[in-house]
């Protein structure tokens, strides 16, 4: 039996060898030319959405990041409005009507031209399907010719370009082609290759790109919400780069410049606090603002933020405001002028009642860390602190006004114009209005800013309004998040120099 088995095995082996030999004899055709390796970039993203329909929710941020959609205008790294699918926009004398001229070269990845009809349909659709832009439904659109159309906004709207036409939600898609949720046909340098809802997104070079030659063959966007995983994927070489690098990871990357390139630029997400005028006297608010050391906070946060003076970056024309330097002696003098005296514990009190500030915060964007740093800084001058942490500020202290000092974080500059932020923060009737800051003078200035068309005057007005909030000690601006991007040294143009989160890869992106 054993002999029989051995014989069969030898036979099988011999047949296999013979088959191999025959195969080798057959494979005499010349070897094919080596195929050039495709240049594919791999990027990690912290968010992922369930659809690629740029007009819905915040999907447009991501289709823009993926290099798929483009808007009529874009916001440059210097915060200026620049032409993209449109070459120019002119407002009528009464400011109600804008005439938009499209770039005749612009075309979709399927070769179809970008026409006035298609753009108008896109803009109208955003008004229908995006909750944040329902006001667009009231605009009147009129086609002049294939590359020219007008938009009548019904009221003077000087920020139409920054608020709407350059906003990523207004990415232009060919509404008659493709599947808008999974593979929309757009105008960007890349087009969808594969899409996993809330997962990995793969894009490939748009061979028909109208605005230059695309250097990469494709990009893979990996959804990774965990910071440690991103760090290790970068270390193992599985990804080529990502933004929103943590302070700890930044240190690791910076220690090895031969493997990693770290780019840090000031961005637009603001950490600030609101001082409640209804519960804190003028002198106490002044003492608080003289005590808070924003540079100390920025240092502690390891370079992920830059100390702020106002809500906007100092380089912006509407970011020219000033605030007093940290002066704890002056802070204590302000408290003493208000009748506070130090008790045996070194804490200020009045009529036997210790001075305690109720600081409300939530655990995101380092606000919890800032709250503890503020506690330390306040205690050093003799101000007691009651820390109140909540899960969700938007349904608690922000809408109830139950705080002395409320910490918050938001994007202050979403499109290179100050009106959105000023309107959200300082208006009467707004949530922060409960803290007692808004006044008629400020309200009049905000109204003027809303309809002012001159850019210089707009900056002047914004500076005036923000300065009022500083002088009144109604707000304190702590820090502006830096956009920190890490990549392999050879990688360029992944949005590392844009202060906005919604710009990433473009035709010039390379590795």
């Amino acid at each position: 039996m054993k002999k029989l088995l051995a014989l069969m095995m030898i036979l099988v082996l011999a047949l296999s060898l013979a088959a191999c030999g025959k195969k080798e004899e057959e494979d005499v055709t010349p070897e094919p030319e080596p195929v050039a390796e495709k240049k594919i970039l791999r990027i990690a993203e912290s968010f992922a959405y369930a659809s690629l329909d740029a007009h819905k929710d915040y999907n447009g941020w991501y289709t823009s990041i993926y290099g798929m959609t483009e808007t009529l205008f874009k916001i440059g790294n210097d915060l200026s409005v620049q032409p993209l699918l449109a070459t120019k926009a002119e407002a009528s004398e009464d400011g109600l009507t804008w005439t938009i001229t499209l770039n005749p070269k612009a075309k979709f990845s399927n070769g179809n031209a970008v026409t006035s009809d298609m753009v108008i349909r896109n803009l109208q659709r955003v008004g229908e399907v995006n909750d944040s832009y329902h006001d667009v439904s009231e605009y009147v659109f009129t086609k002049i010719d294939d590359t020219t159309f007008t938009i009548n906004t019904g009221s003077v709207y000087p920020t139409l370009l920054t608020d709407k036409l350059a906003s990523s939600a207004f990415g232009i898609m060919d509404l008659d082609a493709g599947n808008l949720d999974n593979a929309p046909v757009c105008t960007g340098p890349f087009k969808a290759k594969s899409f996993e809802p809330e997962g990995t997104v793969e894009v490939e070079k748009n061979e028909n790109y109208w605005n230059g030659t695309v250097k990469l063959d494709g990009v893979v966007f990996e959804y990774m919400s965990d910071d440690e995983s991103k760090l290790m994927a970068m270390q193992s070489g599985e990804i080529d780069g990502y933004s929103s690098v943590t302070a700890a990871a930044k240190q690791i990357y910076e220690s090895d410049p031969s493997r990693y390139k770290v780019t840090v630029i000031p961005a637009t997400r603001l950490q600030f606090y609101v001082l409640n005028k209804n519960t804190l006297s003028d002198n106490v608010r002044k003492a608080i603002n003289l005590t808070v050391d924003c540079q100390d906070i920025a240092n502690y946060l390891g370079g992920t933020t830059s100390a702020a003076v106002g809500p906007f970056g100092a380089s912006a024309p509407y970011g020219k405001v000033t605030k007093p330097a940290v002066d704890t002696a002056a802070a204590e003098a302000a408290l003493q002028a208000d009748g506070y005296t130090k008790n045996s514990d070194g804490m200020y009190e009045k009529n036997g009642k210790p001075l305690t500030i109720k600081v409300c915060y939530y655990s995101a964007r380092s606000l919890d860390t800032i709250a503890t740093i503020l506690e330390r800084q306040f205690k050093a001058v003799g101000i007691g602190v009651e820390l109140v942490g909540v899960e969700d500020a938007d349904s608690t202290y922000r809408v109830t006004g139950d705080y002395d000092l409320a910490l918050y974080c938001m994007i202050a500059d979403k499109s290179g114009d100050p009106y959105y932020c000023v309107n959200a923060l300082y208006r009467k009737g707004g949530d922060w209005g409960l803290a007692g800051f808004p006044n008629d003078e400020c309200e009049a200035l905000i109204d003027e800013l809303k309809s002012e068309t001159d850019i210089n005057r707009r900056a002047e007005l914004a500076n005036q309004i923000v300065q009022m909030t500083i002088d009144d000690n109604a707000f304190g601006y702590i820090g502006l998040f830096n956009k920190t991007t890490v990549s392999a040294p050879s990688v360029v143009n992944i949005g590392e120099n844009s202060p906005f989160d919604f710009y990433a890869v473009n035709a010039d992106t390379d590795k």
Partner: protein
């Protein structure tokens, strides 16, 4: 048996009604507005007018009982609703996540049983030996390490240093390995101690010493008697663990990008995505009841005395 199963199904309906009502109430009372979460997802301030319009559109301005009643009626018609976050069907989202969670749950359970059953038996048989102490030390260690630490350590040594596996778990057997091992480490540690205790308990019974006196082979006693008698306790431990694994493992799923139920539930709570949370709670209730039911049936099969009771 059919009567018994029918009775358990009736219990299930009661549990589902009570759980869904309680969850809906808790979510309603908890701070957090789904409309704000939806509009403010990227940190952009929302105007009060837009917020009000969206709340109305989502039906959040209606009284609690109207919202709950509306949801419950839909569920009775077999419709779990749509996600507030992305408008996708809740049933589809749960089904997709369940597939991944099932792979992870079964994978980690398999690894855990393959390791902990033999080691549990070995430590019981070699009680108070050096081997017993060494294994128990490691189980103590594994039990006290949080999942995120195990995950990060595994990732660092196996993916970054040794380059044996990818950091980014692909949706395959290879991708499943690391998250399953990460889940298995504390599970094995717990199982080994529990199995050891149960086998020692059985070994101390008089039927074992009787069998030894009668000259029955020790291998026979161990596998036919001891293991068989310990199997009810082992089954209880395994089924309870399996039930919780099917509820998802948030930390491991997040770190390894494994899109299972735990991550879905966590994201839904963060976004105040009520329909998905409700669907998840219902699903978890069903899983627990079903796992318990199958365990009870298995008890009856293993031990006829349970059937008589």
């Amino acid at each position: 048996m059919a009567k018994y199963i029918g009775k358990r199904m009736i219990h299930l309906v009661g549990i589902m009604i009570a759980l869904s009502f309680l969850t809906f109430l808790l979510m309603y009372l908890a701070p957090g507005d789904p409309a704000v979460k939806k509009l403010n997802a990227q940190g952009i301030a929302v105007s009060p007018e837009v917020l009000e319009a969206v709340r109305k559109e989502m039906g959040l301005d209606r009284p609690f009982f109207v919202q709950y009643g509306d949801w419950a009626l839909k569920v009775l018609r077999g419709d779990l609703g749509e996600s507030y976050k992305d408008g996708l069907s809740v049933a589809d989202k749960l089904a997709k996540a369940l597939g991944y969670t099932a792979q992870l749950a079964l994978g980690s359970m398999l690894i855990s049983l393959l390791i902990s059953l033999p080691l549990g038996m070995l430590t019981a048989l070699k009680k108070d030996s050096v081997l017993d102490y060494v294994i128990r030390f490691f189980t103590f260690f594994g039990n006290s390490m949080p999942n995120f630490l195990i995950s990060v350590l595994l990732m660092y040594f196996l993916c970054v240093k040794a380059r044996l596996l990818p950091v980014m778990a692909v949706r395959s057997l290879k991708g499943l390995l690391l998250p399953a091992v990460a889940l298995s480490v504390p599970m094995c540690s717990r199982f080994i101690r529990q199995f050891r205790a149960e086998i020692l308990e059985q070994l101390s019974r008089s039927y074992v010493s009787g069998a030894v006196t009668r000259g029955v082979k020790s291998r026979f006693i161990l596998f036919r008697n001891v293991l068989h008698n310990a199997s009810i306790s082992i089954l209880t431990i395994v089924s309870l663990t399996l039930g919780s694994l099917f509820g998802g493992s948030v930390v491991v799923e997040t770190i390894f990008r494994w899109p299972g139920l735990g991550k879905l539930a966590m994201d839904s709570i963060t976004y105040r995505d009520y329909p998905v949370i409700q669907g998840f709670v219902l699903f978890t209730a069903v899983v627990y009841v079903m796992v318990n039911l199958f365990t009870d049936i298995a008890y009856r099969w293993i031990d006829p005395r349970v059937r008589e009771d």
